[in-house]
C-alpha cells in the first residue's frame, strides 16, 4: 500500500510540475509573484532570444595593452569597457551588453541595432579631449595645398596645442559651489598634473580651452598656477549639462586604444525567419519520434511520448526561468543522490532550485539559433534513456518475469549505462561552454540542460507512468510492450515491496 501512496504522490507532483511548466512557457510574459506570501519576489518571465534571432549587432574589440603594465591590465580593460558602456547608454540603445572577454577583448552586444555603421561610430570614435592655450589671435587660419590638390585648413585657429589630453585625465566629477551652481572638477594623473601646472603658470589671466572632438567645450580663464592636478571648470551650466560634460570627459579618457576585430549584424527579418523554421523543424522532429515510439514500443511508447512532452515543457521552462552555476551543481548533486541512495534527495533538488530562483540568483538562458538546435537535438537524445529502459524491460519480460518486476528490474539494470553514456555527453557540453563563442555557449547550455532534464523525466516520469498502469492491473498484456511470449502473463501479485 505504501508503494501506491508514493506512486500517487509522485504522479501528482509530476502533473503539478508540468502545469507549472506550461504556465511558464506561455508566450506572453508569465508573471511569478510571491508578494502574497510576504516574500519580496516578483518576476515576469520572458524568452530571451540571441542577437541572431531577434536582430542586432555583435561587436568584438581588441585593446592594445602594450603600453600598460601587466598588473594594471585588468583594471584598464575594466575602465575601457565601462567607458564604452557609458557611450552606448548616452546613445539610448535598449539593453546593451558590454563585457570583457579573455585578456584583451571587449564584447559589445546591441540588440535591435541593425545599422552597424551607426553603432560602430558611437563606440569607435573615442572622443578626443584636449587642452589648448590661446595663441596668436591675429593669425588667420592657414590653408595648405598638398600634391593631389587637396586643400586643408589648419584647424583650431588661434589655439595652440599643449600636449595635455584626455589621456592624462584621471577623472571628472560634478560638484556645486556655495550658491548651488554646478561646477566640474577635473583630476589629472601625475603627468597631467606636471603639465597642467606648467600650462597654468604660463597663462595666468588668459583662457585655457577644453576641446572635445575639435570643438570648444569650455574656456575657463586661469586665475592662479595650479600644482595639485585639480582644475575646476566654472561656467553657466545647468545640472544636466554639467553631468553630460562629466560623462563626456570621463569617457574621453579611454585608457587604451581599441580596435574592432570582428562584428556580426543580423536583421530582424532574418532572425524571425530562423525562429519560425526552427520551430517547424522541432515540431516535425517530435512528431517523427512520437510515431516511431508508438509503432515500435506501443504502450510504453505512448508513455514515453508523454514523458517527452513533459521533458520539452520543463526544459523550455528552465531556459526561461534561468540557470546559474550554483544551481546546476546543487540540483545535479541532489538529483544523483536521489537516484543513487534515497528519493528524498529529489525534493532537495527542487527546493534548492526554487530557493535560488526566489533569491534572484538565476539568469535566463539566451536562445540562439545554435541553442535551439541543441534543444532539438537533446529531444532526440532524451528518447535514448527511455529506449534503454524499454529494451531492458522487454528482455526481463522475455525471460518470463511478470510485468511489475520486469519494469523494476528493467529500470535498475538500465541505469548504469544511462548514467555513464550521458556523462560523456555532459563532459563535452561543459568544455564547449567553457571555451565557446556566445552561439556555441548557448548550444552547450541547451544540450546540457536537456540531457540532465531528460534523465529526470526518463527515470521519474516514464517510470511512474509505467508503474501506474501496472499497479492498476490494467494494460499488462505483454503485447502492449511489443513482446511476444507463448505463455500468457501470470496474474500480478499485489503488495510486494521491493
Amino acid at each position: 500500500m505504501r508503494r501506491n501512496i508514493r506512486l500517487y504522490l509522485t504522479l501528482v507532483f509530476i502533473l503539478l510540475l508540468a502545469a507549472f511548466a506550461v504556465y511558464v512557457d506561455l508566450p506572453q510574459g508569465s508573471k511569478i509573484s510571491l508578494k502574497w506570501m510576504k516574500i519580496p519576489y516578483e518576476n515576469t518571465l520572458q524568452t530571451h532570444l540571441g542577437l541572431d534571432l531577434k536582430g542586432g549587432a555583435y561587436l568584438e574589440y581588441q585593446a592594445d595593452l602594450s603600453n600598460i603594465a601587466q598588473n594594471k591590465r585588468p583594471e584598464a580593460m575594466q575602465s575601457a569597457s565601462s567607458a564604452i558602456e557609458r557611450r552606448i547608454y548616452n546613445d539610448g540603445v535598449q539593453e546593451p551588453l558590454v563585457q570583457t572577454s579573455g585578456n584583451d577583448k571587449i564584447i559589445v552586444e546591441l540588440p535591435g541595432i541593425t545599422d552597424i555603421s551607426q553603432a560602430i561610430k558611437v563606440i569607435g570614435q573615442t572622443p578626443f579631449l584636449e587642452f589648448r592655450t590661446q595663441g596668436d589671435t591675429s593669425q588667420p587660419q592657414q590653408a595648405t595645398v598638398d600634391a593631389s590638390g587637396k586643400i586643408t585648413l589648419s584647424p583650431y585657429s588661434g589655439w595652440d596645442t599643449t600636449g595635455l589630453t584626455g589621456q592624462q585625465l584621471s577623472g571628472a566629477t560634478v560638484q556645486f559651489d556655495q550658491s548651488g551652481n554646478p561646477q566640474i572638477l577635473l583630476q589629472f594623473n601625475s603627468d597631467g598634473t606636471k603639465l597642467f601646472s606648467q600650462i597654468t603658470e604660463a597663462n595666468i589671466g588668459k583662457p585655457v580651452a577644453i576641446f572635445l572632438d575639435g570643438s570648444v567645450l569650455s574656456e575657463p580663464t586661469v586665475q592662479t598656477a595650479i600644482t595639485d592636478g585639480q582644475a575646476v571648470i566654472t561656467g553657466q551650466f545647468t545640472i544636466q549639462e554639467a553631468k553630460d560634460l562629466v560623462t563626456n570627459l570621463n569617457s574621453g579618457a579611454l585608457p587604451v586604444p581599441i580596435k574592432l576585430i570582428s562584428n556580426q549584424t543580423v536583421g530582424a527579418t532574418l532572425g524571425q525567419d530562423s525562429v519560425q523554421k526552427s520551430i517547424v523543424a522541432g515540431i516535425i522532429g517530435l512528431l517523427l519520434i512520437a510515431l516511431f515510439m508508438l509503432i515500435y514500443y506501443r504502450l510504453p511508447g505512448v508513455l514515453a511520448i508523454f514523458a517527452l512532452a513533459i521533458y520539452a515543457l520543463l526544459s523550455f521552462a528552465v531556459f526561461k526561468i534561468g540557470l546559474s552555476v550554483t544551481a546546476v551543481i546543487l540540483v545535479g548533486l541532489f538529483f544523483f543522490l536521489a537516484i543513487a541512495s534515497n528519493w528524498v534527495f529529489g525534493i532537495f533538488a527542487f527546493v534548492s532550485y526554487f530557493g535560488i530562483m526566489f533569491l534572484g540568483g538565476l539568469n535566463p538562458v539566451t536562445l540562439t539559433l545554435a541553442g535551439i538546435a541543441g534543444f532539438i537535438l537533446s529531444i532526440g537524445m532524451a528518447v535514448d534513456a527511455n529506449i534503454l529502459i524499454f529494451e531492458r524491460t522487454k528482455e526481463e519480460l522475455r525471460s518470463g518475469k511478470e510485468v511489475y518486476h520486469a519494469v523494476e528490474d528493467g529500470f535498475k539494470r538500465a541505469w548504469p549505462s544511462i548514467r555513464d553514456s550521458n556523462i560523456s555527453s555532459l563532459i563535452t557540453t561543459v568544455i564547449l561552454y567553457s571555451f565557446g563563442t556566445p552561439s556555441i555557449k548557448s548550444f552547450a547550455i541547451t544540450l546540457g540542460v536537456g540531457i540532465i532534464i531528460s534523465l529526470f523525466t526518463a527515470i521519474t516520469v516514464t517510470k511512474t507512468f509505467l508503474q501506474m498502469f501496472v499497479g492498476h492491473n490494467v494494460l499488462t498484456h505483454p503485447w502492449l510492450f511489443g513482446v511476444r511470449r507463448k505463455k500468457h502473463s501470470e496474474p500480478l501479485t499485489s503488495g510486494e515491496n521491493k
Binding site: I261, A281, E391, T428, F435
Partner: protein, 300 residues
Amino acid sequence: MLDIIKHYKFWFTVSGIILLLGIVSLSVFHLRLGIDFRGGASIQISAQTRPDTTKINQVLSKENIGNFVIQQTGSNGVIIETAPISQTQHDQIISDLKASVGNFTEDSYTSIGPTIGSQLKSQAIYQLLLVSLGIILYIAYAFRKVTKPITSWKFGWAAIIALLHDLFVVIGIFSILGHFFGVEIDSMFVTAILTVLGFSVHDTIVVFDRIRENLRVESGKSIEDIVNHSINQTLVRSLNTSLTVLFVLFSMLLFGGVTIRYFVLALFIGIISGTYSSIFIASPLLVIWQKWQDRKLKRA
C-alpha cells in the same frame, strides 16, 4: 544472432576505405575554411526579387577588395564573401550596390579579423584535445572495476579509436564536400564534431557496459561469444536511439534554416558513424586485442 565479430575484416575494410578517401582528400584538398577561421567578411542581402548577381559581380570587381564569392541563398537572397574589409569599405560597397541593383535589405553582415580567426583555430584544437582527454579519463574511471580478462584501459583505448574513426569520417567527408561543393568549415562545425565525439562515446559505452556485465555473468564463455552476444543485445537500442536523433536532425536538415544546414549535416554524418563504429569497430577491436595478447602470453 548476427555474427559481427566473425566478419570484422569486412567492417574494418569498409571503414578503411572511407577513412582512406577522407584522408587522401584532406591531404590533397585540405579543408575549406570559413570566414571565422581565415578572417573575412560576409554580407547577406535580399530584396523582393533576388538581386542580380551579374550586376553585383560588376560592382564588386570595381571595388578594391580582392577576391570575392557571390552565392545565392534562399528564394531571394544573395551572400557575398570577401577578404576582411573595413567599415568604410563595407558602407561603400552597400551604397554602390544599391545604386546598381536597386534597393535591398542587408539581412546580415559579419566581419572577422584575421587574428581572431587564428585564435579560434587554436581554440578549436585545444577543445578537441580537452574533450578527448575528459572522455579517456571518464571511461578509465567508469570501467575501473573491470579487470579480468579485459582491463579497463583497453575499453578506454577501443573507445578512443572508435572516436578517432568518427572524427576522421566527418572531417574527411567535409573535406570532399568542401572541394566539390564549396562547403566551408566554421566554428559551428567544430561544435558539431565535439558533439559527435560525445555521442560516439555515449553509444560505445552502452555496448561496453553490456560487455562489462556479460563478462561477469557469462564468465565461462569465450570472449568472441560474450562480445558478440552483447552487441546483439544492445543492437536494437543502438539503432533506435540513433534513429530518433537522426529523425530530428533530418527534420532540421529539411525544414530548418540554411544557416545551420551544414552544422546539422555534420551531426547527421557523425551520429551515423558513431553508431556504426561502436558496433563494428570498437567491440571487435576489444576481441582482437585480447586474443592477440592471449596468443603472445601462450608463446612466452
